[in-house]
């Protein structure tokens, strides 16, 4: 690392790993409940497990993005973080809000709108918290020695994510309108501004890992985020087919959903071609694995599998079934979880000064978690397709169908075990790095950061 304050990133990453572990535990609770072993029903009913599982996902990814920002922004702006103290206060308050929300979910205290379950009073604290973060990062960018596209895209992404949290806080009496604006947060986050954040991190990593000229990479970053918004904004329409709004959303949503995979395809092609352009290889190949892997898996999960059920004719049958869970798992994993893992794998040697790259544990973590996640996606797909046919086509009763597809959840849990073994390996590696030290300052030369080495 170049700046002392980049060490803050480590504490965000550590929180990230902790929340991810908890998310997986709740995933298993639900997997077993679906297999018919709902033994925790009285303490953790399905809706509590589900709210905890999805909210932990959102919070750990945001924590990861924040950690990434604390690492990337000082590097890109050529200065220390504006206020280290503010950063720590912000992290601690974020954890507090998270813990209180999760406990609340188990006591039937929530807002009860999918993905936005955090109770209303805590929403205000979230807003204050994110404003603190944006202020701190924003001042760093503002007072920095240089303004790079990568930093600006990342900041603009984080800023818009905060802005778009607000429509979710307005109350509506009609379920239709409620649903309409809930997607302003949920869809425009994951298929809009989060992709800016992902693009920003991806381009930073590609600059560092491949050594391809910044100008080239940043130009393509603009094209990709341009494609994202071009398709993603009106693509929100694919959530509006059947909620009671005008018919034209079927056309608008259907058409722009067809374009949505383009942004992801561009992202994958961009990452691969930049990798092929790089003259020399960066020694931290596992970071490169996660980076390229993220670009590819996001195309498969978010682009392709998303496209597979967003056309209105298909969506009429798959809407509100396990098909959504199938797409959701690989999309979040590929696009957002893997990019957080990538920046973590890249940054850890630089933060701690330990060159723990390319070891068998790290390689196992990559393959096991990816194969496990693909297995889980497959299990959801088979269960979902069976559900659609039995329930929506043949008209069998919901619970009868659920019994028929119970066996696929055995497959899900087995794949989840493979996935979890990968995550455990990743966390073991993370712990082996230890905490960041000042001795790692200026260790870029030794780390093999091609572009930096060439410049200095």
């Amino acid at each position: 690392m170049k700046y002392k304050s980049q060490k803050i990133a480590y504490w965000f990453f550590a929180t990230c790993m902790l929340l991810l572990s908890l998310q997986i535990v709740y995933g298993f609770v639900m997997g077993f409940a679906r297999m018919g072993f709902d033994g925790l029903h009285d303490w953790i009913p399905f809706n509590a497990a589900r709210a905890t599982h999805t909210n932990l996902l959102v919070v750990w990814l945001l924590t990861g993005f924040m950690g990434a920002a604390h690492y990337i922004i000082p590097d890109e702006s050529d200065r220390e973080i504006y206020s280290e103290k503010l950063a720590y206060i912000q992290l601690i308050s974020l954890i507090l809000v998270g813990v209180v929300s999760i406990i609340g979910f188990h006591l039937n205290f929530w807002e009860g709108r999918k993905f936005l379950e955090i109770p209303r009073p805590l929403d205000y604290l979230v807003v204050v918290n994110v404003l603190l973060f944006l202020f701190n990062i924003g001042m760093t960018v503002w007072k920095g020695k240089r303004y790079t596209t990568t930093a600006l895209v990342l900041y603009f992404g984080l800023f818009s994510a905060a802005l778009l949290y607000l429509p979710g806080m307005i109350q509506f009496n009609s379920q239709t309108v409620d649903s309409y604006f809930r997607w302003w947060v949920v869809h425009l986050w994951v298929e809009g501004v989060w992709e800016l954040i992902m693009g920003g991190i991806l381009s930073f990593l590609l600059i560092k890992l491949t050594g391809v000229d910044r100008e080239v990479i940043e130009k393509w970053l603009y094209v990709i985020v341009g494609l994202t918004f071009l398709s993603g904004i009106l693509g929100t329409g694919h959530h509006y087919y059947y909620i009671g709004v005008p018919e034209y959303w079927k056309w608008v949503g259907g058409f722009f959903s067809m374009l949505e995979p383009l942004a992801f395809l561009a992202m994958a092609m961009f990452a691969i071609s930049m990798y092929r352009k790089s003259g020399r290889n960066h020694p931290n190949t596992i970071a490169l694995f996660w980076t390229i892997g993220s670009a590819i898996m996001s195309f498969v999960g978010a682009g392709f599998l998303g496209f597979a059920h967003t056309l209105p004719q298909v969506n009429l049958y798959t809407h509100g079934t396990l098909i959504t869970a199938m797409h959701g798992h690989l999309a979040f994993w590929g696009a957002y979880a893997m990019i957080v893992f990538a920046i973590l794998t890249y940054a850890m040697p630089l933060l701690t000064g330990r060159k723990l790259w390319n070891n068998p544990t790290g390689l196992f973590a990559f393959w096991a978690s990816n194969i496990g996640m693909l297995g889980m996606t497959g299990a959801f797909a088979v269960a979902g397709i069976a559900q659609v046919y039995l329930e929506r086509k043949l008209g069998l009763d919901f619970l009868t169908v659920q019994k028929e597809i119970q066996v696929h959840f055995l497959g899900l849990v087995l794949a989840a075990l493979v996935f979890t073994s990968g995550i455990i390996a990743f966390i073991i590696n993370f712990i082996r790095f230890g905490t960041p030290t000042d001795e790692a300052l200026g260790a870029e030369q030794a780390s093999g950061d091609i572009s930096l080495a060439r410049r200095s």
């Binding site: 039937n108 379950e117 009496n173």
Partner: protein, 228 residues
């Protein structure tokens, strides 16, 4: 190829243009929603039903308008499918209606709260959802055997509750067996005992003990016993 400036322009113009279109369509959609029939039936009960729906995170298991989790049934058309009486009985004690099956949390709702939730479900079921949820395409229909020649007409309770799981003459649910010729197998006395407490006669059966009055049990049994 593109220069960096052109790429930036593509991003800015694209984003601005499509955001503007999106806002325009949003304005039009809201106008449509607020002038449609559903906005006139949005009563106090529906609104407080929605609050209860959210306060208890029903979306954490169920879906409505196809949105939510996929652990429990889609409820958009539940009012049409089950009817208000059935929902009322179910919400009073969810587990009694499906003994030994996937569990729903027992919420101890008051009578008026249950009415609000039913109002909320009814309101959603009446929305113009452009064909969602789709009607099953290959649903088999059993031909009615004797139900029409039956002397005793179908009691109201039967339509409200029993048809959720059983069918007579091809109409009704498919969770329990069709009752078209139930009178051939069982006499009135057996059916009365059965309805009073199914678990006592056949422990572990999926048939719940329903909150029926003695008169209702008699009506139902005499109706059923003549289905031969």
């Amino acid at each position: 190829m593109l220069t960096k400036f052109q790429a930036k322009l593509f991003f800015l113009v694209g984003t601005f243009l499509f955001s503007a279109v999106f806002l325009l369509l949003t304005y039009d959609s809201l106008k449509y929603v607020y002038s449609s029939a559903s906005s006139k039936t949005l009563s106090e009960e529906v609104i407080s039903g929605k609050e209860l729906w959210e306060k208890n995170n029903c979306m954490g298991c169920h879906t409505i308008l196809g949105e939510g989790a996929y652990y429990a049934p889609e409820l958009t058309k539940v009012y049409e499918r089950r009817g208000p009486e059935w929902i009322r009985v179910f919400l009073k004690d969810p587990q009694a209606m499906y003994p030994g099956e996937r569990k729903m949390v027992k919420y101890d709702f008051s009578e008026s709260q249950i009415s609000d939730i039913i109002a909320f479900l009814k309101w959603n079921g009446e929305l113009d959802l452009k064909g969602f949820p789709p009607k099953p395409e290959y649903k088999s229909s059993t031909q009615l055997v004797n139900a029409e020649s039956a002397a005793v007409v179908q009691p109201e309770k039967f339509k409200q509750i029993c048809t959720a799981c059983h069918s007579v003459g091809g109409a009704g649910g498919n969770v329990g067996p069709a009752l078209d010729s139930v009178g051939k197998k069982y006499d009135i006395a057996y059916l009365q005992n059965w309805l009073r407490d199914p678990q006592k006669i056949k422990p572990g059966t999926a048939m719940p003990k329903l909150p029926l009055s003695e008169n209702e049990i008699k009506d139902l049994s005499s109706y059923l016993s003549q289905l031969k």
